[in-house]
Assembly symmetry: D2
C-alpha cells in the first residue's frame, strides 16, 4: 500500500516489524483506535470532560456494565487505581489486597503517597484473594490504632496471569459487603478475563457485586488511557474532584473517550484480548514441548510464566526483551498482545528450543 | 483528497468546523502531530521511556535548551508542575509564586496534596513576580515554624496573558539564586512567549538562569503531553522516581515523545504559537474599536481579557463558549489557538459588536 | 513551707525567678496544674483515652460548651488544628482563613503536608475575618479545578491580639453555614477572649454557631496539652481515627485530661487568662506614656504590639527576649502570661523608657 | 508522710493502688520523674527547644550514645518513629520492617499518611529481622516502579518480647549499609533490652552501626515523651523541620527534656526496666507451673505471651484488663511495668491458677 508519507518533522526511529514478549504495553496502537482519534479531531470541544465523546461514552459503558455505571477517563493504570481507591476510602482507610497486587509492588508507593492509603497485604498462592484470605486482614474495625479496612481490591486477570471465575468474585463481594467493605477491581487486563471466561463483562463485575473498577485500555491497544468505572454510585464519592487533584484529568478528554468508544462500541476489546490470549496459549503449548522448560502457572490470560535455565534466558534476552519475574527461581514472564502474530510465537518458541539445546555459556 | 473513511466502531459526534474562544485546550490536535503519532506506531518499543523516540527527544530538547537539558515527558500540566516542583524541594519546602499562578488557583490543591508543598503566594498587578515581590515571602530561612522557601515559580506567559522579558527573568533568577532558591518556570504557554519575544527559548530560560520548567504541549496542538525539562541538573533530584510516584509515567511513552519531536524538531511550535498570538492581536484590535468594550490587560500572548457589560457577555455565551475571569468585574477571557482562523476572529468580533448594540435583555 | 528537695537525678538548670515577654509559652506550669498531675498519678489507668479522667473531662467541657460537646485531648496546638480541620473536610477540601492565621504562617505547612489541606487565605487589617472577606474565597463550589471551600477557620483571640465579639462570630457562622461551610475556631488563646469579653465560653462559640474548636491549654499554664472540642457532632467525622493517624494520641491521656479538669472545673482558666490580659493592659498603658513608642494594635488579649526604634528593641533584647513581629516596620510583640507580675511589667516598661532615652548605639 | 493535699480543682477519680498487666503505658509516672518536672518549673525558658534543659540533655544522651549523638524530644512513639524515618528517607523511599512492627500494625497508617512512606514488610518467626529476611525486600534499586528501599527498621525489644543481641544488630547494620540502607531502631522499650542484655546502650546501637533510633520514655515511667536520637548525623537530614511539620514539636520542651534527664542522668532508666523485666520473669515462672497455661515466646523483656483456654482468659479479664494478642490462637499478652510489684504478680498468677481449675463457664 503506497501511503504518502504524512507531513511531520518527526522521523521514524524504530522498526515497525519487530515485536517481542516483554509486555503488552510494548505494543503500539491498534489502527482502529488511531482512526478513532482522527475522527474526533478538528473543531473545538469543551475541555476536561464536557465534550460530546465523553458524554456518549457513558452510554457505551452502560451497555457493558449496566444502567448505573459511570465512566471517568484517566491517563494511566496507576492513576485509575489510586483515584478509584480514594473514592471509596476515608483518610483513615485501608485496602486489603494480594501481596502480589500491582498497587502494592509496581506503583512506587503511589497509593500510599498520593492517596494516603494503607495497604493490608495478604500472601496468595496464585494472585487471587478468597474470603478466607480477606479475613486475615479484615479485623480491628473501630480500633483507632489500626488503619481501618474499608476496601478489598482484586485484580482481574491477576498479575500472575490467573483469572477469577464469576462465582469466585461473587463470593468475595458477598463476604466483603457483609463486613462493610467495598470491592474494587483492578481491570488493567479485564478484557482478557472476559475473553477467557466467555461471559459478558457485567457477569463478573456489576452482577457479581463489584463496586468500582479500573478498566484497562493501554494494554489492549490504546494510545493511552484507562477508565475508572463506578458500578455502585452509592459507595463512591467525589470522583471528579479526586481525579483532578490526583492529576489525572485530561484537558482534551475527547481523545481518551473516543478511543474507548472505538474499543467498546463494537467488539474490538474482545477481539484484541481474545487474540492475545490465544497467542499465549499457543506459546505455552509450544514451550511445554521443550525439555527443560516448565510453564509454572495456569495460562488464563495473555501471560506465560516459565522456568528455564537462567543462562538460557539470558541468551534469549539478547534477541528478545522480556523480564525475570522472580530472580530467585529464574522464573520469567512472556506476554502476548493484540499484535502478536502466530509467526512471532513460533519464531520465539523455536528460539527457546534452540537455546535450550545449545551448550552452557562459556563462563 | 478522497480518503476512505477510517475503520473504527467510533462515530463522529461533533462538528469539526466549529471553533470558539474559550480555551486553547478546546482545540484539537494539529495534523502534523497526528501524523507523527502514526509514524511512531507499529512494532514494539520498550515501555516507560526506554524507547527510541524518548531517547531521541533528548537531543531535540538540547538544541533548544542547551547541552545539559533533560526532558521527562508527562501527561498534563498539573502533573508537570507538581513533579518538577517536588524534584527541587524537600519535604519541608515551600514555593513562592504569584497568587494568580495556575498551581495556586487551578490545580485543586494538587501541589499541596500530592507534593506536600506549601505555596507562599504574593499578589501581583499583572501575574508577574519581581525580586521585590519575591522578598515578601523569601524570609524565615532555618526557622522551623515556617515552611522553608526553596523555589520561586513563575509562569511564562502568565495566567493573565502577560510575558516576562528575558531581563526580567534573569533578574528573578539572580535574586532567587542569591537567596538559595531554585527557579521553576511553568511554561504551559512557553511557545507563545518565544513568539512574542522573538528570541530563542534558551534566551529567557537556560541563559537567564531558570533551573527547571514545564514545557507545554497540549495547549499548542498536542493530543496530550507536557515535558518537565531539567535545565540545571545540579539542583534537581530523582525526576524518574517522582514522575512514577506522581502517576505521570506513560507506558507507551513513544507516543508522547514523538509528538514533542514533531513540535520541536522543526518550527511547528513557533508557527502555531505565533499564529495564536497573531489571532489574539487581531481580536484585541477588533474589539478595541467597539464602544463599551475595554481590553484590560496587555495582549502579550494568545489571550485577550476584556470588560464589557455582563448581559452582553451572557448573550454571547449562548453562541460562543468562554469564561468569566473575574465575576466581580465581569471581566472575560478570550483565548486563541493554533487553529483559530481570521474568519473566526472577525465573526466573533462582529458578534460582540452586534450584541453591544442590541438593547438590554428582557428581564 | 520547707519542702524536702524532691528526689531526682535531674538538676535545676535555670533561674525560676526570671520571666520575660517573649511568649506565653515561655512560662512554666501553673502550680495547680502540677498538683492535678500528681493527683492523677499512681495505679494503672487504661491508656489512650479510656481512663476515668478523660471520661470525666467530657462533663467538664459540657458545662462550658453545652450538652453535645465532645473533647479530644491532643498534644499541641498545631495538632489540635490539623486534626480538627481534617474532621470537617474531605480530601478535596479547602480552608478559608486569614492570611495571618497560625495555621498559615506558623505550622511549617503541617495543614498541607499532614492534612492534605489547601488554605485559601485572605488578607485582613486586624487578623479578623468577616462575611465579606470570607466571600473573597467562598466560591467555585463544584468546580473540580478549585480546591473546594469547606471550612472557615477563625482564631480567637487572633494572632494580632484582637478579639471577635460574639456578634461578629455569629455573623461569620451564619454566613458560612448558608454557604455550606463549617466553622472552625483556633482557640489557642480562647480563655483570653472570654476574659476580655466577660461572657461565658459558649456565648461566642456553641451559641454563636461554631462547629469545632481547638481549646488552648499550654499557653494558659498547662504542662502540655490542647483539646479538640466538637460542638456540632453532625458536621464532624472520625475524630478518634484522625487523632491517632495524625500522631496526636497520648497513651497516658489521664495526665492531659486531669490538667484540663484542673483548668476548667473551677475558674483557673479565667483567673489565669484575666491576669495575663490585665498585665498586657498595664504594659500597654506604661509604654504608651513613653515618647517614641507606639502601641499599634488594639490590646484585647495578652499581647502588646508596638513600634519603636529598631536599635532600641535590639538593645532591649540583650536583657529581655522578645520577637520582632514585622521586620519591615520594626514592630515588636510583647506577650504576658499567667505568671507575669506587676513588677515584671513595671521593670520592663522602665527598661524600655531608659533605652529610649539612651543615645543611638555606636555603630 | 502527711502531705497536705495539693490545691487544685481537679479531683481523684481512680484508685492509685490498682495495677494490672495490660500494658506498660497503663502505669503512671515514676515519682522521680514528677519531681524532675517540678524542678524545671518556674520562671521563663525559651520555648520549642532552646531551653537549658534541652541543651543539657544533649550531654546526657552523649554519655550513653557517644559524642555524635543528638537528641530531639517529641511527644510520642508514633511521632518519634515517623519523624525519624522521614529524616532518613526521600519522598520516594521505602522502609523494610518486620510484618509485626509497630509502625506497620499499630500506628493507623501514620508512616504512610504523614510520612508518605511505603513499608516493605517481611514475616518473621519472632519479630526479628535478619540479613536474609532483609534481602527479601532489599532489591529493585533504581527501578522507578518500585518504592526505593532506603531504610531497615528494627524494634528493640521487639513487639513479641524478644531481644536482639548486639551481634545480631551488628550483622543487620553491616548488611544494610553494604546495600546503601540506613538502620533505624524503634526503641520504645530500648531500656528493657539493655537490662536484658546487661550491656551499655551504645553496645547494641551506636557501636553496632544503628544510625537513628526512637528512645522510649513513656513506657518506662515518663509522663509523656520520646526522643529521636540521631547517632550518625551523616545520614540524617532536617530533623528540626520534620519534627515541626509532623506536629511533634513541644512548646514547653523543658518539661520533656527534664524527664529524660531524670531518667538517664542516673540509673533510673535501668532500674525501672530491669524491675519490669524481673517481674515478667517472675510471672512467667509462676504461670509455667500452671497446667494448661503455655508461655509461648521467649521472655526477654517485660512481656509474657501465653496461651490458655479462651474462657479462662475471658473470666480473668473481668478482674484484670489485658489483651488478646492473637484472636485465632487465643494467645494473650501480659505486660509488666516499673511499678508492678511482686504481690501484683503473685496475686495475678494465683488468679490464673484459680480460674484454670474452675469448671468451664456455663454456656
Amino acid at each position: 500500500m503506497a501511503h504518502p508519507a504524512p507531513v511531520t518533522d518527526a522521523v521514524r526511529h524504530h522498526d515497525p516489524d519487530v515485536r517481542g514478549f516483554a509486555s503488552d504495553n510494548y505494543a503500539g496502537v491498534h489502527p482502529e483506535i488511531l482512526a478513532a482519534v482522527a475522527l474526533a479531531n478538528g473543531g473545538h470541544q469543551v475541555a476536561y470532560g464536557e465534550d460530546d465523546y465523553t458524554g456518549h461514552l457513558q452510554e457505551v459503558f452502560r451497555r457493558h456494565f449496566g444502567p448505573r455505571a459511570e465512566a471517568f477517563p484517566v491517563f494511566n493504570g496507576t492513576g485509575a487505581n489510586v483515584v478509584g481507591l480514594q473514592s471509596v476510602t476515608e483518610r483513615w482507610g485501608a485496602v486489603i489486597c494480594a501481596a502480589s497486587a500491582h498497587i502494592n509492588v509496581d506503583e512506587c508507593g503511589a497509593p500510599e503517597r498520593v492517596g494516603g492509603l494503607k495497604l493490608l497485604t495478604v500472601p496468595t498462592p496464585d494472585g487471587k484473594l478468597t474470603p478466607e484470605l480477606i479475613d486475615r486482614e479484615a479485623w480491628g474495625f473501630d480500633d483507632e490504632h489500626r488503619a481501618q479496612p474499608q476496601v478489598v481490591s482484586i485484580t482481574q486477570t491477576t498479575e500472575l496471569g490467573t483469572c477469577y471465575t464469576p462465582e469466585e468474585i461473587r463470593a468475595i463481594c458477598d463476604h466483603a459487603h457483609e463486613r462493610g467493605l467495598t470491592v474494587h477491581l483492578d481491570g488493567s487486563r479485564i478484557a482478557n478475563a472476559a475473553a477467557t471466561l466467555g461471559v459478558p463483562l457485567a457477569e463478573f463485575t456489576t452482577d457479581a457485586g463489584v463496586d468500582i473498577l479500573s478498566f484497562g485500555g493501554t494494554k489492549n491497544g490504546l494510545l493511552f488511557g484507562e477508565c475508572v468505572v463506578v458500578l455502585n454510585p452509592d459507595r463512591v464519592r467525589a470522583m471528579k474532584h479526586l481525579r483532578k487533584l490526583s492529576m489525572q484529568l485530561a484537558s482534551k478528554m475527547r481523545f481518551v473517550s473516543v478511543q474507548f468508544e472505538a474499543l467498546l462500541a463494537g467488539d474490538l476489546w474482545l477481539r484484541s484480548a481474545g487474540h492475545a490470549n490465544a497467542m499465549a496459549q499457543r506459546l505455552a503449548a509450544a514451550v511445554r514441548g521443550i525439555e527443560g522448560v516448565t510453564v509454572v502457572r495456569p495460562v488464563q490470560a495473555n501471560a506465560v510464566f516459565a522456568i528455564l535455565p537462567r543462562e538460557v534466558s539470558e541468551r534469549l534476552q539478547k534477541s528478545y526483551r522480556f523480564y525475570f519475574w522472580d530472580e530467585a527461581s529464574s522464573e520469567v514472564r512472556w506476554m502476548c498482545s493484540f499484535d502478536t502474530t502466530e509467526e512471532d510465537v513460533d519464531s520465539f518458541a523455536a528460539a527457546v528450543a534452540e537455546e535450550m539445546t545449545a551448550g552452557p555459556s562459556p563462563s
